[in-house]
């Protein structure tokens, strides 16, 4: 067959394959259009998972009768005023969405400009344009998409169940609603209201938090630290969850670049690094970050659905994310998630009746005789005056009310030689002495480790590690950074590197494995995570061995010293394995337990 130009309908259907691969993509395109039109309120209605109908109504700028036919033409847009692809300030700019949707569905546009006296409508069915006709409509635009993909039956077959597609749509709206706190959103699924958020106030940070609370619940907002950082023209805001408030999957990690929700592996890498030593390896933090950069610093024209972006200086963005999160977490210091405390309280409540009273401490509570035995250290020696857990200094401190300016309060007792009970102005705190001290030692070791020069053991027999060429090149490109960490690598022909020296603290280590892991890291995250992680692991092991063990008796002075150090050391909310170091029981919660409130 000879070569020919494809008919426009077919071109549009091919474009539709890229831009609208499922109903959620249609919703995304239409809602973004509404946002670009300056809408203050957007209502979305769907039926049959978006397959039967999608309606998006906004109160934005609207279109004139002349603009309507143009809007459904390919590569027609109002969003590139200066034909400038560098300074992209709108969410859309390709002029592809409407014609693509029109090519695969029955599309109806109704729009009225602000100040205009009438509305106009236009219908497009499988690419065939109808006539512009006058109609009645309040100012704004209404887009109706019916029988999506009826013109491309193959695509129709690949759609998932309506419930799944509706879930994707909800997800899209949620992301857009998070990014645009100043706009009200509503989603109804066959008349049932699924999501409804009011437009936020003028204070951006406050309305964002309000929106997060509305969409993700108050628990997240209460258990997150606020992120605020600025560097080199970039601003970062949002919330990062406390390490003790984590999930088993990395599903709740959102990044918005210039209010555009993006999926970028850069976020995953940055989050992994930032939470590295405060989270257990199989847990994932919850984060929602808003990054604002100058439009020319970011290329959004790399993905048809604009789900990915490219930064001009990805390294700077990454280090901004990492340092901002780490800083915020360090500031949060000794905070642990309230969910941990709530879980503890729940345990207490479980056995509040008299019949099960002896088990009221939950599973694994010691039987009375064992309890007495393990508390034996506190039993008075005959003839010796009774005293709590303390040495001589305890006498005076014991009766002093805890000053309100000490967040972790005054140590009152040590139980099972493992946990410290501290009294604060508004409650009590249980502290795991080993976990807490381990974190203190770790922070000290890490500071020392980072400031000291790294000692390198030069290899007698240099190790040649073979790998594919790009991997080797990536390693060599970062050779200088690696050598600062004690690993000296040199190029060894194409597709191989030779390791000349390793960090001395690693001892005799699997050099091949380490270098291959590093190459993988550089490919995936552009950061030498493995090496850092291994060095950190050594610090953590040393910290674990160098800290006060469970089962050691502490004097009141020692306990108080531990509490004061925890207050001033960053990241003391959890030990190096991500377990909480302490739980806070508020006085009013305790009072509730006893029915006083």
């Amino acid at each position: 067959m000879s070569i020919r130009l494809l008919p426009p309908t077919l071109i549009n259907r091919i474009a539709a394959g890229e831009v609208v691969e499922r109903p959620a993509a249609v919703v995304k395109e239409l809602v973004e259009n509404a946002l670009d039109a300056g809408a203050g309120r957007i209502e979305v209605g769907i039926a049959d998972g978006g397959r039967a109908a999608i309606t998006v109504v906004d109160d934005g700028g609207g279109m004139t009768a002349e603009e309507l036919p143009l809007a459904v033409e390919r590569h027609a847009t109002s969003k590139l005023p200066d034909d400038d692809l560098v300074h992209i300030t709108h969410l859309g700019f390709r002029g592809e969405a409407l014609p693509a949707i029109g090519a695969v569905a029955r599309l109806a546009l109704t729009s009225r400009c602000h100040g205009a006296d009438s509305a106009w409508s236009l219908a497009v069915t499988a690419g065939a344009q109808g006539n512009v006709a006058p109609t009645a409509h309040p100012p704004g635009t209404r887009v109706e998409v019916r029988d999506l993909f009826f013109a491309t039956p193959a695509r129709l077959k690949f759609l998932k169940a309506p419930r799944t597609e509706a879930g994707h749509i909800r997800d899209v709206i949620e992301r857009l609603a998070l990014a645009h706190a100043g706009v009200g959103f509503a989603l109804t699924d066959e008349g049932r209201s699924v999501l409804r958020v009011q437009a936020g106030g003028p204070d951006l940070e406050q309305s964002r938090q309000g929106r997060l609370a509305a969409l993700w619940g108050h628990t997240f907002v209460d258990n997150a630290v606020s992120i605020k950082a600025e560097h080199d023209g970039m601003t970062l805001g949002g919330l990062a969850g406390l390490p003790t408030f984590s999930k088993a999957a990395a599903t709740a990690q959102y990044l918005f670049v210039n209010n555009r929700p993006v999926r970028d592996r850069l976020l995953g890498a940055a989050v992994r690094v930032a939470y590295q030593d405060v989270l257990a390896g199989d847990r994932h933090p919850v984060v929602c970050l808003f990054l604002t950069v100058a439009p020319e610093q970011v290329d959004v024209n790399v993905h048809p659905a604009k789900a990915e972006v490219r930064f001009r200086d990805a390294g700077a963005v990454r280090s901004l994310l990492i340092s901002a999160i780490r800083h915020a977490l360090a500031e949060a210091g000794h905070r642990t998630s309230s969910t941990v405390s709530l879980a503890a309280l729940g345990r207490f409540q479980g056995g509040s009746t008299a019949a099960t009273g002896s088990r009221s401490m939950g599973d694994g509570a010691p039987v009375p005789s064992l309890l007495r035995e393990s508390l034996g250290v506190q039993a008075p020696l005959e003839g010796v005056p009774v005293r709590a857990a303390g040495g001589s200094t305890a006498e005076n401190e014991e009766n002093i009310a805890p000053p309100p300016d000490l967040p972790l309060g005054m140590a009152r007792a040590q139980i099972h030689n493992t946990y410290i009970v501290a009294e604060t102005a508004d409650g009590l705190i249980l502290i795991d002495q080993h976990a807490a001290h381990e974190r203190l030692v770790l922070e000290r070791l890490q500071t020392a480790f980072e400031t000291a020069t790294v000692q390198r053991q030069i290899l007698l027999i240099p190790e040649v590690v073979e790998m594919d060429e790009p991997a080797a090149e990536r390693l060599i490109a970062r050779a200088e950074d690696l050598s600062a960490w004690g690993l000296v690598v040199e190029a060894f022909g194409p597709g191989a590197v030779v390791v000349r020296a390793v960090p001395a603290v690693l001892g005799e280590t699997d050099v091949q494995g380490l270098v291959r892991d590093l190459a993988d890291d550089l490919a995936a995250w552009e950061t030498a995570l493995s090496l850092k992680e291994r060095l950190q692991h050594i610090c953590a092991t040393m910290a674990c061995h160098g800290s006060v063990r469970a089962g050691r008796r502490l004097t009141v002075a020692e306990m108080n010293a531990l509490l004061r150090q925890m207050e001033t050391t960053p990241r003391t909310g959890q030990c190096s394995h991500g377990r909480p170091t302490h739980i806070v029981l508020k006085l009013h919660d305790i009072e509730k337990l006893f029915g006083r409130r």
């Binding site: 020296a501 960090p503 280590t509």
Partner: protein, 374 residues
Amino acid sequence: MKLTIERSILLKALGHVQGVVEKRTTIPILANIRLDVGSHGLRLQATDIDLEIAETVPCDPIEPGSTTAPAHTLYDIVRRLPEGSDVHLEYPSKEERLILRSGRSRFVLQCLPVEDFPVMSVGDLAFSFQLRSADLRNLMERTRFAMSTEETRYYLNGLYLHAVREQNVEILRTVATDGHRLARMEVPLPEGAAGMPGIIVPRKTIEEMRPLVEETTNGITLSLSETKIRFAFDETVLVSKLIDGTFPDYERVIPQGNDKVMEVNAKMLADAVNRVSAVMTTDKARAVKLDLTKGNLALSASNTTTADNAEDALEASYDSTPLSIGFNSRYLLDVLGQMTGETVRFILLDPSSPTVVRDAADGSALYVLMPMRV
């Protein structure tokens, strides 16, 4: 099967063979040792498939026969029997259990069929020669500390035993390295070893052989092929598979051009290294810096995390330009521990090149240490 044996004899033999049996194994029979009674006495045999050991000891054989019994349990029992007692072992055929009696004690152990006990096919061992026990001991003891424990470089997890001809002298050598340091020991080549292939004897075989070599003063017969080696002691025979790999060309990493020589009392240096290391007990890297000036060796160490530091100095014979070089203190101590003479000789070049260490009085051993960048 039925026999009576002196406890001390049985205990010693069990002590020799039970080390081969792994503590945890997925094949039940490997947890057992094989017992054979015949006119020759009692033969005990243990294996982990890669290493097999058999020892024959005199006993009073009442009824010949064979069985297998749990090695570690049997060893623990015999160890706890009173000294000077006699042990009676009985295996009534078709009962699958071993009855052990001694004095008024009685034990019943579950047995596994002797037919299931794996036997290593030794094959043809083309080379065979005798080594004096002192020579074999030196070949092992001087070098074994440098064997690697890192499993990915399996070919370094053993001793490289091979014959070389150097300056018209035939010698038998062992070499071990973990990539950071190297140890080399040599003895005159025994008759019959000429032309033997270079082989890597696994770490476990070396460790299991040490007590046997320590105890004997007689010669030991080594027979080997490219894949297996057999060590025949008076009563004990050890057969081991060899590590199937290529040992690195170690000659290339032994520097020839080092020109600075320092000699110092080995014991005093080891003590000084040990002393300054006291500040580094919480440190993983443990670097000791040596500062060489004319006639003097200054040592210093500092803890990377706490910044505690220590200094010491020794009189040393050194005549070249001043040199400052760092070593892992553990590596230094390992090497210094091998010195038999009074004086140790360091042959150096610069702070980042390999350093040769030798016993000033004994040329048979050579060590190479890689410095640390501090």
